[in-house]
């Protein structure tokens, strides 16, 4: 298949951190291709390089070796043309701006129309909170704001690094379905690469789960998740879901890999 039909492709990507006392090999020989519009989860235990992989895809980190392409371009070029949106675990909202102000920020920076901001708030269910400040919001609301902000530049690719990791269980669960709702609402499906260490989360959200494990991180599994969309909470009790869960748990089993494991 021609490379250009893939939104994201990684070709033998490795990364070594050299800023510490000893070189740290974070990623080893990653091959990955992601078609446009796919929701992919990168699942793995802590420390296996998932975040690094995400940042490499997004052009925030240049890999030690290997090739990365986003929409046929080098990632930093794709980033320059604002094709990529980020949501991190730390919402990193500007505390002196309201919710509306924060969502408007990328529009100001990129010179797009500011009227888009209220629309984004409506999409993410934040309209009532437009004039609130981040310190007045719960963690879930802050992440929603971060998501709305990331969507403001209308990116074709959305990179999310454990965005719900700091939220409580209940909020996490509801945020997953919120995210799916928002993602499906778009005219053209954005490609999402979603990093998580939760098996449940990966299965609920994704079309595909890539398991990254070990130190240095390597892809140890890559499965299609053939569960019906739209996903609902009932799906979590279906037998297919449980089968996938077992499989993934096995893939993450520490006796199979080196490196620390975190339970789903």
């Amino acid at each position: 298949m021609a490379k250009v039909s893939f939104h994201v492709s990684l070709n033998s990507v490795s990364h070594v951190f050299t800023d510490g006392r000893l070189p740290l090999r974070a990623l080893e020989d990653i091959f990955l291709t992601v078609p446009a519009g796919q929701f992919v989860s990168v699942l793995g235990p802590s420390g296996c390089g998932k975040s690094t992989l995400l940042r490499i895809i997004g052009g925030l980190v240049r890999p030690s070796s290997g090739g990365v392409e986003v929409a046929g371009d080098a990632p930093n070029r794709a980033q320059a043309t604002r094709e990529i949106g980020f949501v991190f675990q730390d919402p990193a909202l500007l505390p002196w701006r309201t919710v509306l102000g924060n969502v408007t920020l990328p529009l100001e920076v990129t010179g797009r129309r500011r009227e888009l901001a209220p629309l984004l708030l409506r999409l993410t269910g934040l309209s009532e909170f437009a004039d609130y400040y981040p310190h007045q919001l719960s963690g879930g609301m802050q992440q929603r704001t971060a998501l709305a902000r990331a969507l403001a530049i209308d990116p074709a690719l959305l990179l999310m690094d454990e965005p719900f990791g700091a939220l409580d269980e209940i909020t996490r669960t509801s945020m997953r379905y919120e995210l799916l709702r928002i993602w499906s609402a778009a005219e053209r499906r954005r490609t999402v690469i979603f990093v998580t260490h939760s098996i449940t989360e990966a299965l609920v959200l994704s079309d595909r789960v890539v398991v990254l494990s070990g130190q240095p991180g390597r892809i140890v599994a890559d499965i299609e998740v053939e569960l019906e969309r739209p996903r609902t909470p009932e799906i979590e009790r279906s037998s297919a879901f449980l089968d996938y869960t077992d499989y993934l748990r096995e893939m993450l089993n520490p006796s199979r890999m080196q490196g620390p494991v975190v339970s789903a």
Partner: protein
Amino acid sequence: MMRSVLRVIAGCVVPPLLAFALLIAFWESYIAWRDVSIFVMPAPSDIAERFADDPGFFVEEGWWTLYEATLGLLIGSIVALLAAVAMSYSRPLERAIFPIAVAIKVTPLVAISPVLVIVFGFGVMPKLIIATLLCFFPMLVNATIGFRDVNPAQLEFFRSINASPWQVFWKLRAPGSLPYIMSALKITYPLALTGAVVAEWFSGTRGLGYVIYAAWLNLRTAELFAAIAVLAVTGVFIYAVLSLLEQRLLFWHESVRSVR
């Protein structure tokens, strides 16, 4: 809103007023008891009497000193802010400017006051320069730290949307440095006041510094202390205004939100 403002004021003002009243009472009775000569130390009643004699005089001279101090503060702060911006974007510039700033800070400004008069004459200029120099260093240091001390996650977000360095400065560093700048203002405004007074001591015929000097020369101790009292009240007033401003501007900062 009014009730809470009143409560804040009451909470802030009553305890020190009480302590102050007690201090005054002790002072007055001590002077009466030990029969201290007024040429050595005036009693609070003497000071109050002198002030009540002509409050307009003290207020007017106080305004003059405040004017010089404020002008010096503005100039010193703006120059410091500009230097801090330059320094935060250029390491060589930082290495060039910082030693000069430290040298200024360490120079006893009281000592160079006469020299400034010799060079710049007898008008407002020497006072302005002293006040400016005093305000420069603290504001420079604080602003530099403020501009540098950005939240890394926020900075990463700006990078991720490919913001230009100017946008990063204007939308992230500048607002984020406000807590540091306000904190510097609270330090430098009183400094500017003191500096203006010291400069007025050496030349010119306006301002509380001159009033204190003339009163001291002529042994008008009650007048001297009255001028000092006016200066102190001015300083407290300025500080209160700045604190209120801080509350309004920095409502979003943890340091301000956690205060009663």
